[in-house]
Subunit: 355 residues, 2 copies
């Protein structure tokens, strides 16, 4: 239970980083770097140190927090910092932070001198249940998300519930949306378990199940050629709403809040274009709208949302393709959906909250 | 003879790009881009077009030529250009140019949207016999060579002697140094064949043998953990001399000229620290100094050269490690050499030309 094997590496759960010391020792690393943002350097680094018996044999590389800093300028800065520290190919980078840190740190490590080892210690719920598996690294260019990146596997991943203690509730809910998604696309029982439990008290067992589901999907399709697309459920519309909100709203939606909206819309599309029943659609709508705050998708944004969907990097040959539920716990992919159905699904979402 | 299998892809020789049309068709690419520098856009693109029966189904992305433009700013520009063209994950990048273009184009392609397909058409002798094999991509940061890059394999490589017709003689000699190296480290007969032939008329058969040798070495050690280091023969001192010359000389040495110097020095070290005989050392010294122009390694540069060697990215844990010849055609690696021997080898080189 406290270990899960992923492609070529282990994901450890609540081990208090016990296996890390051995990994560092066996790796005979010339240098160890911890990469963190200002928040995780403050809140997570002391916990990290304590777990490792005051281990201090590393240099800290710190960046500014937030998606807006997941960019190439920071990468250049980190590459140069590694060089200034004399880092050679046998160094190790430990990414301690949320998805921004593990994505950007993974990208920097996988390209510094054509690739050095790295270890991920995701410290937000979102990064634990999602960014922890699949080998995706990435950065944004000109605010285009993950426009540049690699597929590169860490040496190991450590998931520690203790780090979540300092994560704000809104960020927890953001990650929780991905867990609901995992249930919806792959495990009906897990979905109902999540619903039955208190979403304010997320257990390591639940995180473990989410990671397991994502791992199974990713292992079956490491290069995102097919099956892996089911992980995009809720994300085609969700990403568009997220981008729109980022550019327009004073207090933009979190990723999970946007995905929650996307899941309701895409459940609607699943009902209209696949085999999801009316009852299942209603079940999903009710539960998600109970957990997540209401949001109004403005009608005048519909055209812009469509543009965002068109430029989604998962598209091929210019078609917008959806992953749709066949039932709660089963998902299919590469589904074409008409423009008018997409608009209907947005209106359906708005009605939900108007009720 | 006109095809060589490398890790997962083919290297074609003098096929006039015949297999390329099929590769493009089978790949069902959404977009095809040709990446070239100003020189290869002028000199090689017309040849490319002609070979492909006036194929025009691509967009050209052009950069400024030269090592100083193999940098992250150009990469950002190319990533953005791809995005502006609406390039998705199913696009194809064809790198048409010397090692700068294949290295940088390979890096951009292997990271754009976490990796799109690319094909290399190396158009200089150096890039044909060296950069064509091994899956290394890279760019320089702050003039630190190949500080950032990936290991990524192209879909195919096309080596066409016709492109060499416009390559200046000095650039040809630069690539020829790598061919001599291939003979010295792995194939005595090939070395003597190169010596017997006219170095001003390099045959496709010779290029093929060089590529084959590099391919065998690289295939045996894809991640550069051991054996592959024999390809660094001549490069530990050669790179240092090259860097020094770049920073100080009005008309800096080419890579090959620097490696030629490095090979004489490291042959000396091979005689002193390994089993290369005095006769073999003399053979190497004589032949290389016949082909390459004399150069004076200034005594006051010795300390700086030592600093450059220390920072060579092939080092581990701060030791300068050499690849040394056991005989002509056999090479060993990870050899430690004393500071004073290194200085002696530089003096030996200087004496060579004083003779
Ligand atoms: N690689 C993948 O497969 C994958 C999957 C999903 C998401 N992502 C990426 O992850 C990013 C989003 O992840 P995120 O939400 O973790 O972002 P994040 O790293 O920006 O973290 C959110 C905020 O929480 C702070 N924080 C982190 N850990 C904390 C802790 N323990 N206590 C208190 N505060 C803490 C951070 O400093 C930040 O301000 C996006 O860039 C997304 O693209 C990647
Ligand atoms: N990836 C690898 O394994 C590997 C191996 C060796 C070298 N390299 C890299 O290759 C680069 C050097 O290669 P290079 O010497 O080909 O550099 P280059 O690409 O700069 O080419 C040298 C010059 O020749 C011009 N040129 C190219 N093709 C021509 C043609 N057919 N006719 C006339 N002019 C032409 C170019 O515009 C340039 O000005 C370095 O950056 C080096 O790091 C990579
Ligand atoms: Zn998501
Ligand atoms: Zn070389």
């Amino acid at each position: 239970m406290n270990k899960l094997e992923s492609a070529g590496h282990n994901i450890y759960f609540d081990t208090r980083l016990a296996p890390l010391a051995e990994i560092i020792e066996n790796g005979k690393y010339s240098n160890v770097f911890v990469f963190a943002d200002r928040n995780t350097a403050e809140l997570c680094l002391p916990v990290f140190r304590e777990m490792l018996d005051d281990f201090s044999g590393f240099d800290l590389i710190e960046t500014d927090p937030g998606e807006e800093n997941k960019n190439i300028d920071f990468c250049i800065g980190i590459w140069k910092t590694l060089l200034d520290f004399g880092a050679d190919r046998k160094c190790l980078v430990i990414n301690l932070g949320g998805g921004v840190i593990t994505d950007m740190g993974g990208f920097v490590a996988s390209t510094y001198k054509r690739g050095v080892d790295f270890i991920n210690i995701p410290t937000t719920l979102l990064s634990q249940v999602d960014a922890s598996v699949g080998g995706k690294t990435g950065i944004d260019i000109d605010n285009v998300k993950n426009m540049v990146g690699t597929f590169s596997l860490p040496q190991a991943v450590f998931i520690e519930a203790e780090f979540l203690k300092t994560v704000p509730q809104r960020e927890m809910l953001s990650g929780f949306a991905e867990m609901i998604k995992h249930g919806l696309i792959a495990d009906q029982e897990y979905y109902y378990q999540l619903k039955a439990a208190d979403y304010k008290n997320i257990t390591t067992a639940a995180i473990h199940r989410s990671v397991e589901i994502k791992n199974e999907v990713v292992t079956a399709d490491p290069q995102e050629k097919g099956l892996r697309k089911i992980l995009n459920f809720g994300h085609t519309i969700g990403h568009a709403v997220e981008s729109y909100s980022l550019s327009k709203d004073k207090k933009p939606l979190t990723h999970g809040e946007a995905i929650a909206i996307g899941m309701i819309c895409e459940a609607y599309l699943s009902h209209k274009n696949s085999t999801l029943t009316a009852e299942e659609l209603e079940e999903i709508r009710q539960y998600i709208s109970k957990v997540y705050p209401a949001y109004k998708i403005k009608e005048k944004s519909f055209a812009q949302l469509s543009v965002f969907m068109q430029s989604d990097k998962k598209n091929e040959h210019g078609n917008v393709l959806f992953s749709l539920l066949q039932s709660i716990g089963k998902c299919t992919y590469n589904c074409r959906v008409s423009e008018s159905d997409i608009v209907e699904s947005l209106e359906y979402y708005n009605l939900t909250y108007a009720k």
